[in-house]
């Protein structure tokens, strides 16, 4: 393995390949910043270009873009309260309040450091344990996926805020959104009301843009915030200190580990990883009530997780030839374009390429760190623009982002509908985080519940006889119940 790593390192250090990493990181950050665009969009554009490139620089650019796009979404999350990508949603919950407190530079600093460290830790785990981790991924069947989804949904108790009942209603709304569309088992159109565009269900990205971005724009308009966001520079508003970073190490390590582990599971992805990492960080915290008000751990956990998930998603790709995410599915396409065969023999037949990717991931994380730190001033300048100019611009970007997903005005209409829904929900105290949690996890829960029962012939015992499923269900019950017990012990809690 050391010999292969040395070969990979030699390849990565070729100036042209380093340039490809830089190009990938830069493009990835830009893509992550723009709401509606994600890593998969950027990779899809790069895909035809890779045909004209050698495999190693092509893949170095792709993995760099993938990683940087997951980070890029956090910039608008923190600066504007609008997540640029789905995995950056949890970063908004503490990142934006930090900006409002005058700690934008610190929040952005924690974000870039956590993301980069998450990426590096994910890369190290990938190098060391790619084969055994792939074996772990193979153990995930429908029962395990269902249990993972239930565990994710149990985090609603941690995200409930002041009213648990309202959070549960938010989950219900999210789950109702998920059931719209053709039922995958019977082909029956559910709740489509004759609208052809709804046959494929309500797409996730327009719902996200509407709920989190457009609703925020409506709030800005209602509060008549027109001028420059004059955020007072408070003491300690500089880049995070070494002492602060040391205090965040546990959070970063935990987030990276969660992110890598969740990323390994095909179909799970960085969004679920960052949501679970945030929920677990809050659960493990001595002051969970402070989450949502602007705590640094609320930024470091999801950010390290969403970049850790990149390394995790490459495990099934490299070891098994199975895509771990939409982005890695596009990379499989790139492998085939290059005349390479994805599968378990890739590591044996193309060791230089594989180890170049593994080493390149590490370099991409480092490059991301440098560009991200240098770019902080740019992001801070962006939030100094007058909101009366910035918000119409952002509204336009949201419209383009939604339209670009399939060149469909229907998606733009959905953005408006969800924008109105999100605005009204927040106005009446209903949290939006559980809605997104339910939308992301709801389809996994239903589909795999039914698949598992198909396998077991209708017996529910399957969920308790599979060890991973059983453990996840127990953790889910504990995760759901403990916050209620804590809340009942405190006075003045609104049920």
């Amino acid at each position: 393995m050391l010999e292969n790593l040395a070969m990979g390192l030699r390849e990565v250090l070729i100036p042209y390949n380093l340039l490809m990493i830089l190009a990938g990181v830069s493009l990835g950050i830009v893509i992550g910043v723009l709401p509606g665009l994600q890593a998969a969009s950027g990779l899809a554009i790069l895909l035809p270009l890779t045909f004209f490139m050698d495999p190693i620089p092509a893949f170095l650019m792709m993995v760099s873009l993938y990683m940087a796009a997951e980070y890029g979404g956090s910039i608008t999350s923190i600066a504007l309260g609008i997540p640029g990508t789905p995995p950056a949603i949890p970063t908004t919950w503490d990142g934006f309040p930090l900006t409002q407190k005058g700690l934008a530079r610190k929040a952005l600093g924690v974000s870039i450091i956590s993301s980069s460290m998450g990426g590096m830790i994910g890369a190290i785990i990938l190098v060391v344990a790619v084969v055994p981790l792939a074996a772990f991924a193979l153990r995930f069947g429908p029962a395990e996926y269902f249990a993972l989804g239930v565990f994710g949904l149990s985090l609603v108790a941690n995200l409930a805020g002041k009213s648990v009942v309202k959070a549960l209603i938010s989950v219900g709304i999210g789950l109702l959104i998920v059931v719209v569309g053709v039922d995958i088992f019977t082909g029956y159109p559910r709740f489509t009301f004759g609208i052809a565009e709804l046959l494929e269900g309500i797409p996730f990205v327009p719902a996200l843009i509407g709920l989190f971005a457009v609703s925020k724009i409506f709030h800005y308009i209602e509060e008549e915030r027109t001028g420059i966001q004059k955020i007072p520079e408070m003491g300690g508003s500089q880049f995070p200190s070494l002492k602060e970073l040391k205090g965040l190490m546990v959070s970063i390590l935990r987030g990276s580990g969660i992110g890598t582990l969740i990323g390994i599971i095909p179909g799970a992805g960085a969004t679920i990883a960052s949501l679970i990492a945030y929920g677990e960080e809050k659960r493990a915290s001595k002051h969970p009530e402070k989450f949502g008000t602007g705590v640094l751990e609320g930024v470091s956990a999801p950010e390290s997780a969403n970049n850790g998930a990149v390394g995790g998603a490459l495990v099934p790709l490299i070891a098994l030839g199975i895509p771990g995410s939409g982005s890695t599915a596009i990379m499989i396409g790139a492998l085939m374009l290059q005349g390479l065969k994805p599968g378990p023999l890739l590591m044996v037949e193309q060791p230089v390429l594989v180890y170049s990717i593994l080493v390149g991931l590490f370099f991409a994380a480092f490059c991301q760190l440098v560009i991200g730190v240098l770019g902080i001033r740019l992001w801070l300048a962006a939030i100094s623009v007058r909101t009366s100019i910035l918000m119409p611009f952002v509204l336009g970007i949201c419209i383009i982002g939604a339209y670009g997903l399939g060149n469909s005005m229907f998606n733009v209409g959905l953005v408006l509908v969800f924008g109105i829904l999100g605005y009204l929900m927040e106005k009446f105290g209903f949290p939006l985080a559980p809605v997104i949690l339910a939308i992301v996890l709801g389809s996994i829960v239903e589909a795999n519940f039914r698949r598992a029962l198909a396998i077991s012939g209708g017996s529910y015992v399957i969920f308790f006889t599979h060890p991973i499923s059983l453990v996840l269900i127990i953790i889910a019950i504990v995760t759901f119940v403990i916050p209620f017990i804590r809340m009942r012990r405190r006075k003045g809690v609104n049920l």
């Binding site: 665009l37 969009s41 554009i45 009942v165 309202k166 549960l168 209603i169 219900g172 709304i173 789950l175 109702l176 059931v179 039922d183 088992f185 019977t186 029956y188 559910r190 709740f191 724009i217 409506f218 800005y220 308009i221 209602e222 509060e223 008549e224 027109t226 007058r386 909101t387 009366s388 100019i389 918000m391 119409p392 611009f393 509204l395 336009g396 419209i399 383009i400 339209y403 670009g404 060149n407 005005m409 733009v412 209409g413 408006l416 924008g419 109105i420 605005y423 009446f428 209903f430 239903e446 519940f449 039914r450 029962l453 198909a454 077991s456 012939g457 209708g458 017996s459 609104n494 049920l495």
Partner: protein, 153 residues
């Protein structure tokens, strides 16, 4: 003293109505079992509707039993602005396929900027110009997003 949080009661009733509507809709779903043991298409929506219905009742009860709150002043001006922007966006969405993105979009950005209180026309023209440049070079040319350009066809 009467204890009531009106908004929670109203929303609870709406959510309960939604749950009942969803359940009623599922009564028309097919009842044929294709694979032994696999729940029908109506199974999951009914679970969600049932849970939503129960939670809505909890919300109604908590709204009825809530401590009286000092009513907050409603910022009607802000709300009217929001409603106007919502309607403008809706009209924009309806008209865009017929008129085209590059012609119609400035007619959304400018009014929204004005509604948000911007009065410096140089800034407004500047942001429209910058936005349209970005839309053209980044999204149309680089990402290949095919915006409606109907009026030119």
């Amino acid at each position: 003293m009467k204890r009531l949080k009106q908004s929670d009661v109203i929303i609870g009733v709406i959510a309960l109505g939604l749950a009942i509507f969803v359940y009623i809709e599922t009564l028309g779903f097919p009842k044929t079992v294709f694979t032994l043991g696999v729940p029908l298409a109506s199974f999951f929506p009914r679970i969600v509707a049932g849970a939503l219905g129960l939670i809505s009742i909890l919300l109604i009860i908590s709204g009825i039993r809530a401590k009286p709150e000092v009513p907050q002043a409603i910022k009607w001006r802000g709300i009217v602005k929001v409603v106007v922007v919502m309607m403008l966006t809706a009209v924009y969405i309806i008209l865009m396929p017929g008129i085209g993105f590059f012609i119609l979009t400035p007619f959304l950005i400018v009014p929204v900027a004005l509604i948000m209180g911007e009065r410096d026309w140089k800034r407004i023209v500047g942001i429209v110009f910058l936005f349209m440049l970005m839309a053209y070079f980044v999204f149309f040319r680089f990402f290949g997003v095919m915006f409606p350009t109907r009026i030119f066809m």
